[in-house]
């Protein structure tokens, strides 16, 4: 059961202190999601604490990605998908007809499983969001946003000489950090990450994880991951899903040392899933 290193244990203890003080940025209340007639998620109650990393774990098809995608209504783009229950962002129901989904997605950004830079230059990839939302009033301001976003995504030093080369020409890990920079550029409050490291090699994964840890200071992050070590390394709160149900939720440290549910214990020790 010694999954965690000494260092991350120390960190987790520190995080626990934070957790107490933190408020909830998003709240899920009896969230159910249906694809056509098939129900993929059953009455999930899950709160997302502010300026922390929440990890969603569980075997494939357990509904964790579905839950993640319902947090910024990306499920709307899927034909026949229906969400019931309530999800709030700063107390506002995001499924309220009065809410503009486009505005919501600017506040709740998303990073996908496979790096998906647009077939444009590195600069244009990052400038895409700010341009659409009119965040920069001048070319100079836009340059600044691009640079600071790339810096925050720890990519600037690697690409500063080729900002106008194609974003698709970067390595997989760089592409994923470019996508994170792209998401940061619109100054979201929450960043959703759907298995952001599953297509990356261990070195690129380590860089992205390091980045997530830094981003925690400014953003609320929700990450779906298949890697127990990753969840343990980067998150402060962990939610375990199985077959569309939320099995257990708690502080990461507790989840990995003393899980209450047998299913959680079996999963994190690799006995199923």
């Amino acid at each position: 059961m010694n999954l965690m290193t000494e260092r991350s244990l120390e960190k987790a203890v520190g995080d626990k202190m934070n957790a107490v003080a933190s408020t909830n940025k998003m709240k899920g209340d009896k969230v159910s999601v249906f694809y056509g007639a098939k129900q993929a998620l059953f009455d999930v109650d899950l709160d997302i604490p502010e300026k922390m990393v929440t990890a969603l774990i569980g075997p494939s098809g357990c509904g964790k990605s579905t839950f993640l995608r319902s947090l910024n209504r990306m499920n709307d783009t899927i034909e026949g998908c229906r969400v019931t229950g309530q999800i709030t962002l700063d107390g506002e129901d995001i499924y309220d007809p009065k809410i503009d989904v486009v505005e919501l997605r600017a506040r709740v950004g998303m990073v996908f499983q496979k790096p998906n830079p647009f077939p444009k230059s590195i600069y244009e990839n990052v400038a895409y969001g700010p341009r659409i939302h009119g965040l920069a009033k001048s070319r100079h301001e836009l340059d600044e946003i691009v640079e600071s976003s790339l810096r925050r995504a720890s990519l600037f030093e690697e690409v500063k000489d080729r900002l106008h080369d194609a974003g698709t020409g970067l390595s997989g890990g760089q592409q994923q950090r470019l996508c994170i920079a792209r998401a940061i550029a619109v100054s979201p409050e929450v960043i959703l990450m759907d298995e952001p490291c599953s297509a990356l090699d261990p070195i690129a994964t380590a860089k992205v994880e390091e980045l997530i840890d830094e981003l925690r200071q400014n953003y609320t992050i929700v990450i779906v991951t298949h890697s127990m070590q990753q969840a343990a390394r980067v998150s402060q709160k962990t939610a375990m899903f199985h077959l569309g149900n939320l099995v257990e939720v708690g502080e990461t440290e507790m989840m990995f040392t003393t899980p209450k549910e047998k299913r959680t214990q079996d999963y994190i020790t690799g006995r199923f899933g």
Binding site: N72, M74, T77, E79, V102, E103, L104, R105, A106, R107, G109, M110, F112, K114, N116, P117, F118, P119, K120, Y128, G129, I132, H133, T168, C179, R182, A183, V186
Partner: protein
Amino acid sequence: MSVLLVLLIVFGIGIVGFFIGRQRASARETGEVKVHSRAYYHGWWVFLVSVLPAVLFIVLWSAGSSIYLERSAQASLPAQTAESAVASRGLALSMVRGIATGLDRLDAQELQNLPQSYADLRSLLGSKGVALASEGQDYMVPIAERWHSQAATARTIGAGLAIALAVAGVIFGLSGIHPRARARNNVERIVLWGLLAASTIAILTTVGIIFSMLFQTINFFSVVSPWNFFFGTVWDPRFADAGSGGSQGQFGLIPLLAGTLYIAFVAMLFAVPVGLFAAIYMAEYATPKVRATVKPLLEILAGIPTIVYGFFALVTVGPFLRDLSAAISGGGGFIMAQSVLTAGLVMGIMLIPFVSSLSDDIITAVPRAMRDGSLGLGATRSETIKRVILPAALPGIVGALLLTASRAIGETMIVVLAAGVAARLTVNPFEAMTTITVKIVNQLTGDLEFNSPQTLVAFALGITLFFLTLAMNIFALYIVRKYREQYE
């Protein structure tokens, strides 16, 4: 024995060979040795080795024997043919061939007492429903008779050899059946050759078309200088002067080329926005249900024969535009019933499904990840389409548009009916212009000597059109290849 019957027999032998081969092969599947090929592959192998060589032989034999018979008949034609009533040796030969084929209709007894004069034979064959030319000569009858009997002999020998070859093939195939025989690989190789042959035929046909046009074009350019053709601004072929010598008329390509490109341009002006927007709607906005209905409906447009579009232009769109312009100007209309606008508009309608269907495929091929990425940043759907999807799909769309444009340039029936025949240089889209294809139709229909420049110019026009569309297609492929986005 007719060739068809021989072919049937050969195929019959092959099919019998297939069943015997399959049966024998499955009998050998005892389980002691692991078999290499399934039984029906052995059957197929037997079928192929018996049928293919025999069919090939039949083709070669009939071609070879007919060439031989023609040569020997030609050699026995008397020398005075040149001075006799028949214009040339070639004509005499074809008359002899006519008689020889006509003799097939006679039964054995009639052949025994064949009339030796051409006139009698002509009336005899006439009663059997074979029409012969009236100017035949008596000397043709024995030559035709010999031709006929030799042909019959050749056919019999050929049939015997072909059947023997088929049987030998079956025996050879059957003798090769044993559990480790690689019948499967052999059949596979023959299939490969078949596929190769099919694609070769397509390529050779293209080459053949080019050459057939090329020779006539060279003939044309020996009369009219290429400079006058390619850079002449007057199209006036002067049908009245055909064959009478003197002035040949002027064959300036420019007015036709201008008309072709102008009408194609108007058509694209109409088809591109409509087709592209339809494609965007279908690919990005339509629910699967709507898409499943709308897409086939749009594609029905592509199935309408172009001559029907021609009617539509001629009897509906043309008069409508004319009356509309008359109503607007109050008095005489400024749009002619046959005009660039009419032809372009109707051609544009015809092109909509090409643009929309090709573009739809290309837009749908843009990975979902691109859409999600953009939507996930808070972009609206139309922003996503405008800034991410269309730029990503642009090379493909440009390629599709170039392919469509080359169709517009080559389109014939609509412009024949709707654009008019006046070869004019004008920029007014309300007036009639004409196109290369219209003039090809004009020059080739009607009663004209085939070797006059008035007719031959059609080939020069055809080859010009061919290279024009070829260049566009190559350019389209180049664009698509060069700018194709690697999404991975």
